[in-house]
């Protein structure tokens, strides 16, 4: 197969970056659902371990996603504003 031409590659980058933004949006929703569940747990110890585990996972996931997103933003820079009307 032929090597894809340059513009397609760039599109792909920006596509990935947008999906990264979607993921960042998704994390708090996931967190909300997971962190509202402890009401179902009965003992404090269970709740303690559950909450702090979920919390730690959310922090790690966001750390990874945010760093990637910030890096992509640095490359893409100001262009983001025009390219992502679905932002609003």
């Amino acid at each position: 197969m032929a090597k894809p031409p340059q513009p397609v590659f760039l599109e792909r980058e920006s596509y990935r970056r947008r999906r990264l933004g979607d993921a960042v949006r998704l994390v708090p929703l996931l967190g909300l659902v997971l962190l509202l569940l402890p009401g179902l747990l009965t003992t404090t110890n269970d709740a303690l371990i559950y909450i702090f585990t979920i919390w730690a996972v959310l922090i790690v996931v966001t750390a990874i996603l945010s760093r990637k997103l910030a890096a992509a933003d640095m490359i893409d820079g100001a262009g983001e504003a025009q390219k992502a009307p679905d932002d609003t």
Partner: protein
């Protein structure tokens, strides 16, 4: 540990903080920001969310309600995790719109409505007061732990703490005269305090878990065995508290201040999005263990809010206790500083300044004036706020669990949420909607949450709780609309936010926004479409050279350079370029305003210095100014056009006058010449006659004849002159009646018929039978003149004159055409002027007035005489007056 030592430690700590802040300010002023603006500092500055309430109160909360305390951290965690959706937008709006506080944000969104700003400010003051009381309480209680006689002089301690904090805040926050800049020093001090409180809590936690309990697993056993284990989570309370904490995290004035106003770079949010949740995670990790151990080892009835202090003291770890104390102190001071700063900004911007400016009417004339008032109002507000907090502390009894007071404050500030979220996501939100929502929320919150917080029967009588105000049961503060059995906090949050949102949406739907509101709404909602990427703050890094270049264009290079040199000298610098200080920018703006208008100057400087976009209001002002300038210039243009026309008319009039004067001179010299010639010959010949005795009769007769002829000529000349003058002045009376053209021609030819003349006249009698209604004598005079001219000037050997009557474009004309040489072109143009003669035929006896008289006569009669250039000889055309009157 001695109480005095504790006080000294606090003072030392404060002085150290002050030095750090001072150093940071100096560094920032020198432009060496570097790591001072790192994402780490930003994240740590967000930690003012963790106040003394968090520091001490979380443990107490856990001891009372188990895991529920963690909701206070989970809410902000979720907000930070979702930074891409909400916080990024808020920060971008804050930067592009130059937002100074949350009240400013809301009022900007709703068309710079000060009404909204005042409402939010009031909410902020009322909501911040209990929070400050809370800090006073924490610090007072922690002091009390170390006091020799606990419980003595608590109010006194609280008062001195309040006074100390007020002084501290004023020194910190309003020391800098530049009221609009970011508070670099404060931010660094907060970051230091954030580290102190984290380290303190972690130290106590590690001490508890790893030394007292012997590791994580035994710790869990201790927790399982304690009364905390029995606390179950109430799902609805859990959910509401998470939501409340999330809303408060955004809406609290101090949080908004550090998160949005003090934000240096939007990208810092990306780091803070995970780093701040991590901070909160660490802050809450050891809360339950400390609570469990505290409940275990301390005697029954010990205040769980102070476990962080009392547990280390119980085990004689004085240093650890001191660290914990400093942690709590740090929490309280950082919160109070930023909250007081943020609220005082709102009060001075939305309440004091509008009133002050309204009283001044004419507006500020001296810039120093405004600055002084702003600083003073901020300082007074800070003092007043601390005093209010103190009173709240005293009157709420200093009792009540810390957590309960904190949640009341949260619920108060959360009332801003509908107006804010609606403002940044919904274009249909209007100022009336926002005002209605805020008012309703404020009232419900006051009634259901704030007033009852003073104790069950202090501000609201007990009867009102059971029967409602004025017997209106559905308005009972703890059972609105008759819904009983809800947790009081849930009840208050539920009703206040529900009614608030409802009022906001409904009123927004039925009202109409102003144009400014709609523009601002679009700017807020589409902030990512219209603003640029994430530029850093360039406030201190403006190049004076750029400013000079711009100023040179506007002021002229010499003036601009003089201004810059003077400023540089004023700053004690050499050369052209001064430091770009705010004072200089202000002065420059004033100077530029002189030439381009205030709004334009502001907008231009903002473009260069701030990197901020120009606000809609700025643009409207610029447009206004441009409009005024346009009107002014179009008026000027009209005026100058008018002037130009007048000048042209004057010039034309002058030319006419000059021409007339030249004509008059020429006429006078002509006339005197014409009169003098015959007079000269009359005089000389009469002298000859007088002296000549021996003169023959023939000679005498000849001379007499000459004198006679000359006298006749003179008389004719005078007659002609008189005739012309009469004609020109319009004094002539025309004797108009019906005549026949051929009669007049016959008369004219007969009058000129002289035997010595050889002129042959050819006519066309059938054509001449034309009836006319005119003055026949005058017309005959013209014909005679033309025939005489032909007799005089026709130079042909056998002169002939053809009189031809015809029609030219339906107008009757009589042409007199001879067979002579004609008239040269340059003579044609002047031959109808007075004293004009083709060639010098003086002997012909004409004075050159004939044709002039002809033309005057014909014009009087309503016709004309023109020269016909295309004929063989000299040809004149007499345009006869129309015969309408004859027909009638």
């Amino acid at each position: 540990m001695a109480f005095d030592f504790l006080v000294l430690t606090c003072l030392g700590y404060v002085v150290a903080l002050f030095i750090v802040a001072f150093w940071a300010d100096k560094r920032a002023a020198a432009g060496k920001v570097g790591w001072l603006n790192s994402p780490l500092i930003y994240t740590l500055s967000l930690s003012i969310y963790c106040t003394a309430w968090t520091f001490y109160g979380a443990v107490g909360y856990a001891a009372r309600s188990g895991m529920e305390f963690v909701t206070i951290y989970l809410g902000p965690t979720l907000v930070m995790l979702g930074w891409w959706v909400l916080l990024r937008r808020l920060v971008r709006i804050g930067r592009t719109q130059r937002i100074t506080s949350i009240a400013d944000l809301i009022s900007s969104r709703y068309g710079k409505s000060n009404m909204i700003g005042v409402l939010v400010t009031i909410l902020a003051v009322i909501g911040t007061t209990p929070y400050i009381a809370l800090q006073l309480q924490s610090v007072t209680l922690s002091f009390d732990v170390f006091a020799e006689t606990p419980g003595q002089g608590v109010n006194q301690t609280a008062f001195w703490v309040a006074a100390g904090l007020a002084l501290f805040t004023i020194l910190f926050g309003t020391r800098n005269l530049d009221v609009n800049a970011r508070h670099q020093g404060v931010v660094i001090a907060i970051a230091v305090e954030a580290v102190v409180k984290l380290v303190a809590l972690l130290a106590v936690g590690i001490f508890v878990v790893f030394i007292l309990a012997g590791g994580p697993m035994p710790m869990l056993d201790v927790i399982a065995a304690s009364q905390i284990a029995e606390q179950t989570i109430q799902p609805e309370r859990w959910t509401v508290l998470v939501a409340l904490a999330a809303m408060a995290f955004i809406c609290l004035p101090r949080m908004f201040h550090v998160m949005v106003v003090e934000n240096y770079d939007e990208r810092h949010l990306a780091t803070a999005s995970w780093a701040f949740p991590l901070y909160l995670f660490l802050m809450s990790l050891f809360v339950v263990p400390i609570a469990a151990i505290g409940l275990n080892v301390l005697p029954e009835g010990a205040n769980p809010d102070l476990f962080v202090l009392t547990v280390p003291l119980e085990f004689d770890r004085d240093t650890l206790a001191l660290l914990a104390f400093l942690g709590g102190f740090s929490s309280a001071t950082s919160m109070v500083i930023v909250a007081a700063l943020a609220v005082s900004t709102m009060v001075s911007n939305h309440i004091v300044m509008p009133i002050w400016l309204a009283q001044r009417q004419g507006g500020a004339t001296v810039s120093g004036d405004v600055r002084y008032v702003v600083i003073l109002s901020r300082r007074l507000t800070i003092a007043a706020l601390l005093l209010l907090g103190y009173f709240y502390f005293v009157y709420s009894g200093g009792g009540g669990a810390l957590a309960a007071i904190g949640l009341i404050a949260f619920a108060g500030m959360a009332q801003v949420m509908p107006a804010m979220l609606g403002g940044i996501f919904w274009r249909g939100a209007t100022r009336y909607g926002a005002a209605a929502g805020l008012t309703v929320g404020l009232v419900v919150w006051l009634w259901c949450s704030f007033l009852p917080s003073f104790g069950d029967a202090s501000l609201i009588p007990a009867a009102v709780y059971s029967n409602g105000p004025f017997g209106l049961e559905f308005l009972r503060p703890r059972a609105l609309f008759g819904i009983e059995g809800m947790d009081p906090l849930i009840h208050a949050v539920f009703w206040s936010l529900l009614l608030n949102s409802l009022a906001f949406c409904v009123v927004s739907l039925i009202t109409f926004p102003t144009p400014l509101e709609r523009l601002q709404g679009a700017a807020f909602i589409n902030v990512f479409r219209y603003s640029e990427g994430a530029p850093g703050w360039t406030g201190g890094a403006v190049d004076a050279e750029d400013l000079l270049m711009m100023s040179q264009r506007l002021l002229g290079s010499r003036e601009a350079q003089e201004l810059f040199v003077a400023e540089a000298q004023g700053q004690g610098k050499e050369g052209y370029l001064p430091d770009v200080s705010p004072a200089f920018l202000e002065r420059l703006e004033r100077e530029l305003a002189g030439s381009v208008g205030r709004a334009t100057a502001h907008a231009m400087l903002m473009q260069i210095t701030g990197g901020e976009t120009v606000s809609v209001e700025d643009l409207m002002k610029v447009a206004d100014e441009a409009q005024q300038i346009l009107e002014y210039s179009s008026q000027l243009e009209a005026k100058s056009l008018e002037l130009g026309q007048t000048a042209k008319q004057l010039q034309e009039a002058n030319e006419k006058l000059v021409a007339l004067s030249v004509q008059k001179d020429a006429f006078l010299s002509q006339i005197s010449h014409e009169l003098r010639t015959p007079m000269t010959s009359i005089r000389s010949f009469s002298e000859i006659l007088m002296r000549g005795a021996g003169m023959s009769p023939e000679e005498r007769s000849r001379y007499s004849k000459i004198i006679h002829d000359e006298a006749i000529r003179l008389t004719r000349l005078l007659d002609d002159l008189l005739d012309l003058s009469v004609l020109e002045n319009g004094q002539v009376t025309l004797n108009e009646r019906s005549v026949m053209l051929d009669d007049i021609l016959d008369r004219s030819v007969a009058a000129t018929d002289r035997p010595e003349q050889a002129l042959t006249i050819s006519r066309d009698p059938p054509m001449e039978a034309v009836p006319l209604f005119t003055d026949g004598d005058r017309l005959a005079q013209v014909f005679i003149n033309l025939i005489t001219n032909a007799q005089k000037y026709c130079d042909a050997e056998a002169p002939e004159l053809e009189i031809r009557v015809g029609l030219d474009n339906g107008i009757r004309v009589v042409d007199f055409i001879d067979n002579g040489a004609g008239v040269s072109t340059d003579v044609q143009s002047v031959m109808f002027e007075k004293f004009a003669r083709g060639t010098d035929h003086r002997a012909a006896g004409g004075a050159g007035l004939g044709l002039a008289i002809c033309r005057e006569v014909m014009k009087r009669l309503g016709g004309d005489v023109v020269y016909l250039p295309d004929e063989a000889g000299t040809a004149f055309r007499v345009v006869l007056p129309e015969a309408r009157k004859a027909a009638a």
